[in-house]
């Protein structure tokens, strides 16, 4: 076993009803960047939680540097030299950077010493960070730096990164990769989880591919094409969404100088946003999370009210109208947060279908609900979007994230909207289902609807959008045709690398 940093042998973990990991084995060498690839639900997260001591395996064992490794809790894993950067950051908004870092350490030094150390390490690795700033005020990229520095201060031998680039601009990804390569050169191993294949090809030495909890193969990413890896992940060939060419029609939705204040303490207010979307057009809006996406969707849906003339639908000023009135007029929306925003967790799918579909689908008469019709509407959504569920009486919370996403998007698409606004339409959805959702959006556009897709997945936007713009700190960049845009141009539209201009000056 000499030479190996971490050996994993036959790890198995089952939850009631699902086997998250079944007999997974692989090795990580010192100084290696090892990729863990797989669809959502393939068991990547459970696997790394076992390595980090958050979840106990049912069977199998691990060997770290020649010694049996059975971390009972994250503290033990950290003491053994394993650190982890989480996908959804494990940060505390109301505390400052130094306090957040201290919470991740076993024996933190005094705050002032720690702050000096943070400044040191952050400069050494090219990740500028002010230790006294409140984390709630930081951008997503800066928040990730906090997590990384928290890990680096413990001199880890193995750094686990769970989908680290999903919230970064292309420039920030470059900076992250430079940091990771530097760590690798110093002998630190990295376990890198992602489903972005090009990134893995650029960074990783070795990849282990999981599907439905089982290891289905390994490859050397540099020598394997992205298409080959995708096939290994999905197990079949992918269908690419396609669209018939359309000529843009009349303007259906227009924003004129939309400015609204965010209702949340750490939210982003929208500043002077103007745009037009024509019939048959798909407008893609990129942006790092927390730059006003949620607020824009709320302002379009009517959850946040604006001045009447700021939102115009088919020539009618609707800025001051609420969600119900807008739905009736044909402006439908699907927010990002599935449970609690797009769907009521404890209500059945039929009830959830009623919630937004009552008026347009005539599921209601004189204030009384037509349950039979609602049920067949829900069944139609389930059928067309291949929602995997026992039936329309199932509670929304019982569905997996991807399946519920298919349902909430399908619910809006099936109501034949004139204008549809979606936020993160394929977030957490596996590749084949994502293709179905994107195809449905494109079909709507061909049918004469105007579509606004807000997403952090640039590949998705490039696939569906005719025109492209980015949100940055509540402002909208100029709108440009999506065809021919380079990654670098997109990155600049998204605001470049936050805070770096300052550091270089």
């Amino acid at each position: 076993m000499t030479g190996k940093l971490l050996s994993i042998r036959g790890l198995t973990k089952a939850y009631p009803g699902v086997v998250a990991n079944s007999d997974v084995s692989f090795d990580i060498e010192p100084g290696e960047v090892h990729a863990l690839l797989g669809e959502n639900g393939a068991g990547k997260s459970t696997l790394v939680k076992m390595i980090y001591g958050l979840v106990k395996p049912d069977s199998g064992h691990m060997v770290l540097q020649g010694r049996e490794y059975t971390p009972a809790e994250p503290q033990a894993a950290r003491a053994a030299g394993v650190a982890m950067v989480f996908q959804h950051f494990s940060l505390f908004d109301a505390l400052n950077v130094a306090e957040n870092v201290a919470l991740g350490m076993a024996n933190p030094p005094k705050t002032s010493e720690l702050a000096a150390k943070i400044t040191d390490v952050s400069e050494q690795y090219g990740l500028p960070l002010d230790p006294w700033k409140i984390v709630g005020d930081l951008s997503a990229g800066e928040r990730q730096r906090v997590e990384i520095i928290r890990c680096l201060l413990q001199d880890p031998k193995l750094l686990i990164m769970d989908e680290p680039t999903s919230v970064l601009t292309p420039q920030e990804v470059e900076i992250l990769f430079a940091t990771l390569r530097k760590l690798k050169a110093e002998g630190t191993s990295i376990l890198y989880i992602s489903h972005k294949l090009e990134e893995i090809r650029a960074l990783c030495d070795e990849a282990t591919i999981l599907r439905l909890g089982k290891k289905v193969g390994t490859c050397v990413p540099r020598d394997t094409s992205a298409a080959q890896m995708a096939e290994l992940m999905v197990g079949s060939e992918l269908h690419r969404p396609e669209r018939a060419a359309t000529v843009p029609g009349a303007v259906r939705l227009a924003l004129r100088g939309l400015s609204v204040t965010s209702p949340g303490q750490f939210g982003t207010s929208l500043k002077d946003i103007s745009l037009e979307v024509r019939a048959g057009e798909v407008l893609g809006l990129a942006g790092v999370a927390g730059n006003g996406q949620d607020e824009l969707l709320a302002a379009l849906a009517g959850e946040i009210l604006a001045k009447p003339g700021m939102v115009v639908l088919d020539g009618a000023e609707i800025g001051a109208k609420g969600p119900g009135a807008r739905r009736k007029m044909g402006l439908l929306t699907a927010p990002e947060e599935r449970l609690g925003h797009a769907a009521a967790p404890n209500m059945s799918l039929t009830e959830n279908a009623l919630l937004t579909g009552a008026e347009r689908e005539a599921l209601m008469q004189n204030g009384f609900l037509k349950w039979g019709k609602a049920k067949s509407f829900a069944e139609a959504i389930i059928k067309r979007f291949d929602v995997r569920t026992p039936g329309p009486e199932t509670a929304a919370r019982a569905l997996s994230g991807g399946n519920l996403q298919k349902f909430v998007i399908g619910r809006e698409v099936m109501q034949r909207p004139d204008v549809l606004v979606v936020n993160q339409p394929t977030w957490g959805v596996d590749a084949s289902a994502a293709a179905v959702i994107r195809q449905a959006l494109l079909d709507l556009a061909v049918g004469g609807a105007a579509i606004v897709v807000i997403s952090q997945d640039l590949d998705e936007l490039m696939e569906v959008a005719d025109n492209f713009a980015a949100l940055n700190e509540g402002r909208l960049s100029e709108i440009r045709p999506a065809k021919g845009l380079s990654m670098e141009e997109i990155g600049l539209m998204m605001g470049g690398a936050h805070g770096l201009e300052v550091a270089h000056a």
Partner: protein
């Protein structure tokens, strides 16, 4: 009406006494809420502490034993709340309200045989030299131990939250319990300890009412002070020094209106009686105009998934 009968020195001195019960209870609740738990049972724990402390002091003849018993009783009752909300994952608001109702009933049951009895007296600390200073002496330095304990507790809670690692972990748990769990902190254990501390403080606050403020046992004698303590925590934006300020304001208006009643002022007694509650809340609402400094996980049930 004779306002000159009101002695300002005496007024300020009794202000400190009147503020102590609500202050200690509020500090306990502050720690509980900073850990992300909303315990609406403060009133119930206070009244239970009041009767247990009263009974223990009467039987032992020692007020100190009474206060310790009250702390244990309050903590014991809060353990029930901890069991419901942290282990059985019951709703915190409902459990807290139930705890208040339960505490009120339990205390009247225990208190049956104690109506009309006088508890042992707590000696006032006449701090030598300091208590002889004119004006300041009688206001600040001629009180019982518990008054000073309350002020010390403000300092300790402040130091704990600001400068200790345990305090940082506690705040982290209240701020984002998922993240704290992911970092390996024992969310439930920390919360149960915080809840017990809150219970003990409420118990001591209650015992202060029955042993010093009044001093006798009457059913429902805490008279909503527990609710004021709860309001105090929120309007003090979860900061210990503001709790001290709010408590003194509440105590001040309480003794002032009593004095005004005694002086026969031409305002109906009902208005005077409601004034401490009203004024405290109005002032604190104005002070806490900055929205939502509340711990982000406050009142949310934590369930360690997977």
């Amino acid at each position: 009406m004779d306002l000159s009968a009101i002695n300002p020195i005496l007024l300020l001195a009794s202000l400190m006494v009147a503020a102590t019960a609500v202050m200690i209870a509020a500090l306990g609740e502050l720690i509980v809420e900073r850990a992300g738990v909303l315990n609406l049972g403060v009133e119930g724990m206070m009244i239970t502490g009041a009767i247990i402390g009263f009974a223990a002091a009467v039987h032992s003849g020692s007020p100190a034993v009474g206060f310790v018993a009250a702390a244990v009783g309050g903590a014991g009752l809060s353990l029930l709340f901890a069991l419901l909300t942290q282990v059985a994952l019951a709703n915190q608001v409902a459990s807290g309200l139930a705890l208040t109702l339960f505490g009120l009933g339990l205390s009247s049951l225990i208190g049956q045989g104690y109506v009309g009895i006088k508890p042992p007296v707590i000696p006032k600390l006449n701090i030598p030299l300091l208590s002889d200073i004119p004006v300041l002496g009688p206001i600040l330095f001629r009180h019982d131990m518990v008054v000073y304990f309350g002020i010390l507790l403000v300092v300790l809670v402040w130091l704990f939250l600001k400068y200790t690692r345990a305090g940082l972990v506690l705040r982290a748990v209240g701020e984002n319990h998922e993240a704290a769990h992911a970092l390996g902190y024992k969310v439930v254990r920390i919360r149960v300890l915080a809840i017990m501390f809150g219970g003990a403080c409420a118990g001591v606050g209650g015992a202060y009412v029955s042993l010093v403020r009044v001093p006798q046992w009457t059913e429902g004698m805490t008279a909503g002070v527990g609710w004021i303590a709860l309001a105090l925590v929120v309007f003090a934006s979860w900061k210990p020094w503001r709790v001290l300020l709010g408590a003194y304001l509440f105590g001040g208006v309480t003794v002032l209106q009593l004095n005004l009643q005694a002086a026969g002022i031409a305002i109906p007694v009902e208005y005077l009686s409601m004034s401490p509650y009203l004024i405290t809340i109005i002032v604190l609402v104005i002070m806490s105009n900055r929205r939502s400094a509340s711990p982000a996980s406050l009142g949310k049930t934590f369930h360690a998934a997977q």
